[in-house]
Amino acid sequence: MAKGTGHVLQRRVRKSDRVLLGATGFATALILAMLATLVLDVVVGGAKTVTWSFLSEAPTKGMTAGGIFPAIVGTVALTLMMTLAAVPAGVATAVYLTEYAAASSPIARAIRICISNLAGVPSIVFGLFGLGFFVTTIGRGIDNTFYAGHLTYGKPALIWAALTLAILTLPVVVVSTEEALRSVPRELRDASLALGATRFQTVLRVVLPHALGGILTGAILAVSRGAGEVAPIMFTGVAYFLPYLPKYPNDQFMNLGYHVYVLATQSPDVDRTKPLLYGTVLVLLGLTFLLNLVAIVIRSRMRRRILA
């Protein structure tokens, strides 16, 4: 091969490297730009609206003025209740999978398959399920047994929406907790068992405290996911507008995400609701971003600790 052709070949080859790098880098930049555009638009559009009174007052004048306080309270109550159900269930599942079940156990396999399927079920199907199971079956069952058929729990309510969301977010908690449990060194378990601790004591006092970061990450991600879901709560408990705040588990509630949907689609006066709409979106997005950022930071710290 002559010296000249080798040189040309090499140059052309380098050029194709640059083209590939450029194309993939451009695609990456484009995705980041889409994200940035959305976030900037919401921040710029909502910044003026989000004041203290917007956060602390109820909507007025047919939701064309006022604030979103009841929607914030409803969202917090909903996700809190959801967390109380999802986190213990998710942690117990992860503990069973990593600490108790043998790798070949058919039950463990079935649980894993169900977890990954649950993660893929469309959120609207959870809505249908929540209505068909919690509201009309369990709720009405409670009414018939304890309230003499008086309509108390057999209607859309905070508790039913929270339980529906808890099932939806269960995979998030399980996956995150499992990862954390697997990262606990084997030696710690062995040491604990060698000191005479039982398996359950080892889990409770050695493994779980060690995995706390991962469990926390899972809980935060679940809250962030639950706070933004609308389709599953549409038929299970959320209300368009309520003059009061939810007090009991069988009350209905307002919700930030649903409020966005309502303002965007059913407003009597689009121009006057637009600032409110932007404000609500900013609050919702700010809330979920904040939660996600915290989760990402905790997780990257945890990974660094494991590597170190």
Binding site: I31, L118, I296
Partner: protein, 326 residues
């Protein structure tokens, strides 16, 4: 050991050590049993979803009462008026074809946007990016995944729709194209992360061998790494598809929700998910329409189960082939 203290029999006051042992044993048994029972929640959930969505959907197939209003053939074959979904009218028309075509149309547009971008980004992150770039891109895409879909839908409705209309001059302001682009926001994180995992699962020895044979970086990526990771990337597309057909709040806000059956991207569409979400609130419980909405939900549930199982299968098949490295 709060658990065992609360469960210990209080009247027993024998030698301290014996009580302690017995307490520990009791606590242990109850604790373990609790863990094992609660761990079954996920199985119970999937079974209950099948039963309770299925139960309300089944009358569509079996109830002769319902068949006076709603025939199985009428759901798929065109009536005199064509393929019409018009559940609330004097003579309700329940043709579900336009809804499924609508879902497919929007999904295909979103895949068309999301797949090239996210696979390219995955190649960039897995093969080219340095540590700093990676530590910016990956969390950013995680944040993208964390945006509530109602927020993306809102953005499509208020901002994106205006842009798309001024660029493409579409007939309807809310249309398939707008919804497809918006939907790509939701599926890009899925396609990206599964693709990136697939690229990472390709053993370094493949790359080293190609480089040793004199390949350039682009040849390594295009002719060695991508073909080896192809099944994983196919799985990414399949999982993205599964995510897209189930998405509700984006399409409900961005499609315009008119159940038209045509293939114009500038026209409004109505998807299966948006139909359920919009109509279930106002439907009479137990009516044909009510059961049909559950039937649509059941079909959606079954299709995502199949799609996800397919995706997972491809991924695990590839893992085995490449020696289980990730």
């Amino acid at each position: 050991m709060a658990v065992s203290i609360s469960t210990a029999p209080r009247t027993v006051k024998k030698a301290a050590t014996l009580t302690l042992k017995r307490r520990a044993r009791w606590g242990e048994a109850i604790g373990e049993a609790a863990v094992k029972i609660v761990a079954l929640t996920s199985i119970a959930s999937v079974v209950l979803i099948l039963i309770f969505v299925g139960k309300e959907a089944l009358p569509v197939l079996t109830s002769s009462e319902l068949h006076k209003e709603l025939t199985f053939g009428g759901m798929f074959r065109p009536s005199a008026a064509g393929y019409v979904w018009q559940p609330v009218s004097e003579v309700p028309k329940y043709n579900i074809v336009p809804l499924f075509v609508g879902t497919l149309k929007v999904t295909l547009v979103s895949l068309f946007v999301a797949v090239p971008l996210s696979v390219a980004a995955a190649v960039f992150v897995a093969e080219f990016a340095g540590r700093t770039a990676r530590e910016i891109v990956k969390p950013a895409i995680e944040l993208l995944a964390g945006i509530p879909s109602v927020v993306v839908g809102f953005f499509a409705l208020v901002v994106l729709a205006t842009w798309v209309q001024s660029i493409f001059g579409t007939e309807h302001r809310l249309n398939t194209l707008v919804a497809g682009i918006a939907l790509s926001f939701a599926i890009m994180p899925v396609v990206f992360s599964v693709s990136e995992d697939a690229l990472r699962a390709v053993p370094d020895s493949y790359r080293q061998a190609a480089i040793a044979l004199g390949s350039t970086k682009s040849q390594v990526v295009l002719r060695v790494v991508l073909p080896a990771a192809a099944p994983g990337i196919a799985a990414a597309v399949v999982l993205g598809f599964g995510r897209a057909i189930g998405e509700t709040m984006i399409v409900i806000l961005a499609t315009g929700n008119a159940a038209l059956l045509d293939f114009d991207l500038g026209h409004s569409v109505r998807t299966v998910t948006a139909t359920i979400a919009q109509e279930l609130g106002e439907v009479v419980v137990g009516s044909a329409h009510y059961h049909l909405l559950f039937f649509l939900g059941a079909l959606l549930f079954l299709s995502t189960l199949v799609v996800n199982a397919g995706g997972e299968r491809i991924v695990s098949g590839m893992r085995r082939k490449l020696g289980g490295g990730s």
